[in-house]
Amino acid sequence: MQPYEMTAYELKEAIVNKELSATEAVSSFIDRIESVDGKINAYITTCFEEAMNNAVLQDKLIAEGSNMNNNYLPGVPYSLKDNIVTKDIRTTASSKILSNFIPPYSAHVYEKLKDSGAILLGKVDMDEFAMGSTCENSSFGTVRNPFDTTRVPGGSSGGSAAAVSAGMSSFSLGSDTGGSVRTPASYCNLTALKPTYGTVSRYGLIAYASSLDQIGPVCRDIRDVAMVMNVISGNDKRDTTSLQITPPDYTSFLTEGIKGMKVGVDLKSVESGLDSEVKEIYLKTIQTFRDMGCEIVEVDFSMIKYAVPVYYLVACCEASSNLARFDGVRYGVRESGNDITSLITNSRTKGFGEEVKRRILLGTYALSAGYYDKYYNQALKVRRLIMEDFRNQLDKCDVFLCPTTTDAAYRIGEKNDDPMSLYLSDIFTVTANLTGYPAASFPAGFTKGGLPVGMQLTSKSLREDNIIKAVYNYQCVTEYHKVRPEIKEGV
């Protein structure tokens, strides 16, 4: 097996046991990127020279026998979604307005990964400012789904998913505001977790919607997810919304046996708008959990029909404010103007893509005088009702199981004229962001056309243990997550 085909765990073990050197691992990934990224287009910025230097350093430390505790990922190559700020390495959020932005500081998660010995290969593509669910809103060209390069990898962390799926990164960190690590994981046959809000510091994550954003691992399996969570989670004083808790050892939940675990299912809410193949896989997944000894419990999310409108209102309102700082004055791309108003207007007009403009306009409108109570304030009230509804339903079970997405990956361009239907496809993922609850997507099967379909498990706040246990056991009795795409020649 080539290093680029190994999971992060396998790589770490091999490197720690000196069966593989960090430089060999990194070289393998670099070769792989150079070989296939032309067809996938996952990377915006690569940092191969630094990666090799870091690999040499890691090999030196390993030879010296420096302290290796369970959190360390020495020599394990990874990628970061390009909205995670990396000092001295260009960070664009896939936007023209930041195409020349070299940050003078680093995100918390990047610092943590550096300390763990993991090696950054580069920054991967995404929907501009994380706004999108197909990764077609990138300013650097569309990222392709490795399983079918005529299709989207999902968004907004499309580059993260495509890179990991195609063997161009052993794991990646993406960000999730309404499903942005889970949707691409579902489309690209990966396992990804959006942690409980506040578990992972947002310091250094270019903000889209502050009360919804969380950084999450995008990996080949749940073991890798747990390992990466051990590195990146924990309180950060620089993020006031970061929880003041000591996170658990997430790998301690990788234990066999979930007999008696209550798995909630909501066949009613799930039915409308759901692709028939996805529904079939959902039913099959339910059966698998039943076969593992789980108790299947019917739940009913009566508020779920409000989830998408509430999400888009809250997200767009917060985003309209978060993105106001991009005015061309201090950093980023500046367009000239006769006065300050035209300077700012021109910079933003040229610098932002369509979808970003759409959401900023929507958010500005909903916050404006006369509309605040009708839209934003109302959305906050309904959000609380959704949280109550979800909490009540999750009281009946340990985890809630549903499809991650309504469909498998769309063809590129298929949804161009229909942004609304794209918004509606987020219906299963947005609730986890609105409530702050953790949710993970994991591979659960394929369509007849060979496209991956992911299922999602949600639990209450800080109950990642249930999710990790459930997915781990599922991945012990199924092989879907082991399937790798064949990157087809020339499309």
Partner: protein, 478 residues
């Protein structure tokens, strides 16, 4: 209608920089006078991905001011985003407080001209961050971000003031109170306290306020008074002309002595306020508030009482000493070593006069409290005369040297040595037989003449008391 039939209604908005070591949302220093763009970091520059973290000292400093101004301190308040585009605002929003401010419903009593007190209401006090500084030149605008994120309190008064006198009295008093809390140094020249004036006019006795304007850029108490005078007259003229006062923000131009329209406000700013999702609500416990209350330094009112009752200063003197915290601090230090009345007298009469000649402010005074105390004690010990001490003070004011140094340099040491003086007295008496005659003849003032001559002969260095005694003694022996 004539000018006399109008009444002016004034409210003040005061922005005050809090004297915390660090900025409100990051750990950058707040020091004044740093090089441009030196006190900055990714957070206060609003770089992508950064987050604000509230400096708890800011809350503490603000609560101190709130308590000193008799406000209700909100047990729960929150931070909101005030959204607008301007190059001195890095995030394109200012983190402020909108509908749940930290303090509410306070008051401050001012002394009116007739000696009565008037209560001026304080509507609210909230915390917020300051913006950067723009310097406009002919061809470009320069942006200094040092001030971005400096913590401010914004104090809004009720429109309770009715004259420039009241506005100035209020402004001076609130400044001295805030200074006394230690929460801000309130230096108008440095911009750490800024007064904006909301002013309208109405027919005397009316219950309906007129349209108000806001005036900014008042850099001194003098401009405040002038601006109030100008703007009320301007608005009265507008109304008497049959026009309507436009609600707008105006810039006070002190050189021209007039207020000028700032950007015309066709559309009022919609700031799209909403709660900042990066910060959590500020929850204060009873214990927290009580602690701050108990550790409040002595405030001007209480200090006035103490000076008058315990130190026996006159009301006038006490007010002078408490008018600025620099003077009060100086006084408090000096009275550790010398008696209060003398210290007060020297400050109010002599030092103030000296400062007036150089047009310096009290904070620029070279003389230290200890130096003044030493000087005063030299008089008390009769080592120098009172007259000499004033001379010495004048020197110390210029050179900053110690009392002893000035006295020795100017040869002001008083001679109290009886035998040395006696010889001078005998000499003077011998030289002035007529005066002796007059004295013997019952003209008491002749003795004064002789004393004066002795002082002259000793070039002022003889101890007048000793001279008086000796002259009296020797004359009576004759």
């Amino acid at each position: 209608m004539s000018y006399k039939e109008f009444e002016t209604v004034i409210g003040l908005e005061i922005h005050c920089e809090l004297a915390t070591k660090s900025k409100i949302f990051c750990s950058c220093p707040t020091t004044f006078g740093a090089e441009e763009n030196e006190n900055v970091c990714p957070v206060c520059l609003g770089l992508p991905g950064t987050l604000p973290v509230l400096n708890s000292k800011v809350v503490e400093f603000a609560v101190r001011v709130g308590l000193a101004l008799n406000c209700e301190i909100s047990r729960r308040s929150k931070m909101d985003r005030k959204n607008y585009f301007y190059p001195d605002l890095p995030k394109a929003y200012q983190i402020s407080q909108y509908d749940e401010p930290l303090c509410k419903n306070g008051y401050l009593d001012i002394d009116l001209e007739d000696g009565t007190k008037k209560r001026i209401g304080i509507t609210r006090i909230h915390i917020e961050e300051d913006a950067g500084k723009l310097t406009h030149s002919f061809r470009s605008t320069l942006l200094d971000n040092n001030r971005c994120g400096v913590p401010l309190i914004e104090i809004v008064t009720e429109p309770d003031m009715r004259s420039a006198y009241e506005a100035e009295a209020f402004a001076r008093k609130i400044r001295s109170i805030i200074q006394a809390t230690g929460s801000s140094d309130c230096r108008m020249q440095e911009g750490s306290i800024r007064f904006d004036v909301n002013l309208s006019v109405m027919p005397k006795g009316s219950e309906v306020f007129g349209t108000r304007t806001e005036m900014k850029n008042l850099n001194s108490f003098r401009s405040l008074v002038r601006a109030v005078g100008y703007e009320s007259r301007r608005q009265e003229d507008v109304i008497l002309d049959g026009d309507e006062v436009i609600q707008e923000t105006r810039r006070w131009d002190d050189a021209k002595g007039m207020s000028i329209t700032m950007r015309s406000k066709e559309d009022a700013h919609d700031y799209r306020y909403f709660p900042d999702p990066d910060l959590v609500p500020i929850i204060l416990s009873e214990e927290y508030i009580k602690n701050i209350h108990d550790t409040l330094p002595e405030l001007p009112e209480a200090r006035l009482d103490r000076y008058m009752n315990e130190l026996s200063l006159t009301a006038f003197d006490a007010r002078q000493i408490t008018s600025e915290s620099e003077i009060t601090d100086f006084f408090e230090e000096a009275i550790k070593y010398a008696d209060a009345k003398s210290v007060a007298n020297f400050i109010i009469v002599d030092i103030f006069a000296l400062l007036k000649t150089t047009e310096e402010s009290f904070s620029e005074l070279k003389i230290t409290p200890l130096q003044l105390a030493e000087l005063i004690n030299m008089v008390k010990d009769e080592r120098i005369s009172v007259t000499a001490s004033k001379k010495a003070l004048g020197e110390m004011f210029v050179t900053g040297e110690d009392a002893l140094g000035a006295v020795e340099r100017l040869n002001l040491m008083q001679v109290s040595d009886t035998s040395a003086i006696e010889s001078i007295v005998r000499q003077v008496i011998a030289d002035n037989p007529k005066s002796v005659e007059d004295y013997k003849g019952g003209k008491k003032q002749a003795m004064g003449y002789i004393v004066g001559q002795v002082m002259r002969a000793s070039k002022g260095s003889a101890n007048p008391k000793v001279v008086n005694e000796l002259v009296g003694k020797i004359l009576s022996e004759m």
